[in-house]
Each structure stands twice: as C-alpha cells, then as structure tokens.
Subunit: 132 residues, 4 copies
Amino acid sequence: MEMRVRFNEVDPLGITWHGHYIRYFEDGRESFGNRYGLTYLDVYNNGLVTPIVSINCNYRKSLTYDERAIVETTFVDHPAAKLLFEYKIFTLKSNELVAEGSSVQVFLDNEHRQLQLSTPAFIENWKRQHLV
Amino acid sequence: MEMRVRFNEVDPLGITWHGHYIRYFEDGRESFGNRYGLTYLDVYNNGLVTPIVSINCNYRKSLTYDERAIVETTFVDHPAAKLLFEYKIFTLKSNELVAEGSSVQVFLDNEHRQLQLSTPAFIENWKRQHLV
Amino acid sequence: MEMRVRFNEVDPLGITWHGHYIRYFEDGRESFGNRYGLTYLDVYNNGLVTPIVSINCNYRKSLTYDERAIVETTFVDHPAAKLLFEYKIFTLKSNELVAEGSSVQVFLDNEHRQLQLSTPAFIENWKRQHLV
Amino acid sequence: MEMRVRFNEVDPLGITWHGHYIRYFEDGRESFGNRYGLTYLDVYNNGLVTPIVSINCNYRKSLTYDERAIVETTFVDHPAAKLLFEYKIFTLKSNELVAEGSSVQVFLDNEHRQLQLSTPAFIENWKRQHLV
C-alpha cells in the first residue's frame, strides 16, 4: 500500500510523529484485508471481532512532510488462535526501511465477547485458500 | 476546563494544528456535560443521540507546545429542537482569546436514528433545572 | 480526491467522528495543492506560511466504516489578502452530499510571522496562471 | 497521571482504539517530565532532541467511553545512551491492569541531528539528582 505523510501528521521536529505509524500499520492491514477478503466486516459477518492484544514498532529513519512511502503487510501463519501481521515501511523514492513492527490479534465472539481458544473455522478456511 | 497542548498536537510551524480545536471543543462540551448532567451517556440513556450537524471555529492566536489554556463552554438556549454550544479558548497565562466557535447538534432516536422535530422531554426537563 | 473511511475514524455510533472532516478538508486542499502547484512547500519556498484563521463544516449525512467518498476542493477567488477554499464531500457510490464547508487562510512572512496585508506576488502570479 | 477516555477515542466496538495508547504513554511521559524536569523543552534547551526508536504495548483489558484510568510512568536506568520508560495503565475504579508497554529514545544533537553515542552530561546530571 502506498501512503503519503500529511501535514497534520508531522511534529515540531519536522518528522512524522511516532504514534501515527500505528495508524499506518492499520492502513496496511485494512488494505491487505480488502485485497484478500479479511476485512473487519468480513470477520464481523462471520461472528468474530479481532482486537489487537500486542503491538510494537521499531523506527529506523524518519519520514518528512509529503514524503511517499510503501507499507508492506505480511500475514504470518501461526498455530495458536491468533492473527499475526508483520509490517515494513519503506521510502518510495529510495526504498530505505523506515520502520518495522508487528501486531497480534485474538478472536472474540462478536456477541458475547468471549475469547476463542481455537482458530475459528472461517479463519481456517481463509488460510487454506490464501496460504501456499 | 483547563487543557494543555500536547507534543503530538503541534504541527511543523510549532503551533497547535487547527483541526485539534474541534477536539478541544468536544473536551469542553464533555466537561460541561459531566458537570451539568448532559453527557453522551445521560443523553443515550434517555433514548437519544445528538450528532453534530454544524461546527465552526475562528482562530485569533496560536497555542504553542505545553501552553495551558481554558476552554469556556456555554449552552445557548434555542427554541428549535437543537443543542447549541459556544466555545471560547483563552490562554491561561494572559487570558487572551485564542479561538472561538460554536456547534449545533440535533436529536435522533437512538434506535431508529429518526430526527426529533420537537425538543425531547428529557432536554426540556434539563433546561428547566439548569437554565435561569 | 478519493478517500476511504478508516476503522480508527469511526466513533461508537458507527459513523465517522465529525472532527475528522477537518482532516479530509486538509487532504482535499493538499491534493489540490499537489495538482496546481500550491502546496505548503511551494508556499513556504516563496517566503510564506498560510495559517487557517477560520473553518466551518455542515454535516448532511454520515459516512460509515470503509465507505468511499470524494472530496471536491474549490479555490474561491477573493480580492482580500486571503486564501479561501470550499469543500464538498460526496459518497462515491450514490453521489450524495455528505458535508460541505470552507476555510480561510491568511499570509504570513515565514520568518517574522508578520501578517501580509496585500496578496503576495507569488499568489498573484499563481492566480494569473490558474484562474480563468 | 489520571486520564479519561474521550468520545472521539472510542472505536465502533465501543472501546478505546488501540493506537491511542501510544498517545496515553506520551501523556504519561510528559507528565513525568513536567514533574521531574525532563520535558521536551528542558531537553531541547540542553541541545538535544530525543526521538522514539522503539515502542511496544500489550493490551490486557479494554477501556470504555468516559472511563477513568491511571497512567504510571517509570524511568528505567540504563547504561547505554538511551532513555527507557515503562508504562502501566490501570483502571481508576478497580485498579486493574489495562495495558503495559515501554519506549526507547535516543539522543540527537538538536542542530545537526547527530546520534550521541554516550549519555549527554545534562542527562547524567539529571540522573544523579533524581535516581536514588
């Protein structure tokens, strides 16, 4: 997914405020979901919500105003009842690594908000279709 | 309500980004609601939601990082089925006017999202209790 | 400019929080600037900054999660030393008006932050080139 | 530092969007800085800036609209030329752990943006005064 740093995302040091990267990761995850049938709504319509339980980000370089970048989002297969994504952000111009991080999501029943201890059938099906 | 400008609210010009004032107005409105029994939850529990239909802000001065300010929120009585608030933001130090604006909210039934054409009884009661 | 409502922009009522529209207006203005040579950096490199002094927004309909919309940004010519933009947001699907608003910016010298009382030469030139 | 969840921080699931916790951590760090003389401005006036190079957050429970919480910020002493903070967020009402995380900052010269390989004198002095 390609992105561009907005004026309102730049801090007084002239670089993107670090907290916005969590938003860029979510943009990458939503873009991945739109492409591969795993959006919030796809998941919700299958009786699930998938809250984030852990997130991290390591910053290598900074992004400046109006700079273009690529968010690369990777689904990491995992035996536990979890969704694991890894993210890398590269500058569009010189392909330098700006930041990398990951997120972990669990599965809750969307009505009772009950933690699912095994991977839901919908996700197992999705994996069979999309993972090689 | 007293507030303080956060690092992540300051733009590359070293001043608070103008869009954050809409958030400060909401902080003022919520603070007003907490004090006078008119929070989102009070309203919701009376079968209503009150979406914003209009907002404006005029900027007189800028706020810089870590600067303290006061958000003054005024309920403006109005015969129509609307909630009208006015906001003034002053610097804490020198009491200068930084920005002023207003918002208009309408009443919707919280289930059917139907517009209420007359002021709901809950609001009429609230007005009788709180307006002189 | 085409946009899409992000998960993190949707409030507990299931609709885009009203304050994010100020951000969408800025996205529209930046997109306009990129297309017609009037970005923050173009302006800055000509010795100017153009802070917002007034903004307003009227909300007609709501946008829901993942909904696509168009931000239409119009430069409004004005004899005073001001930049005036008008914004309309339409749903992509059915072309319904979601919100409309406007912003006013003034010109400051980018070093001394002094208000410019007449329209700067750079802007007069830009107008001659871009307005019919 | 005590905080309260704002309406505009709550997502369609009715809980605080996970990205806002990075902001709460920064609020905690700024509150710590104000109390112990280690704000962004204190640091800047000593010729330094301290960008974040790593951040992480683990989510245990969710916060709902208007819920009060405590952000507990701890300075962790470290031999390397880094600033390490740990954060814990507890519900005010029942003192349950909501989230915990940490951040790492490095020191740059505020003019040349050059990485400082040893802990700056200002920070060494600060540590002598504030750490037992």
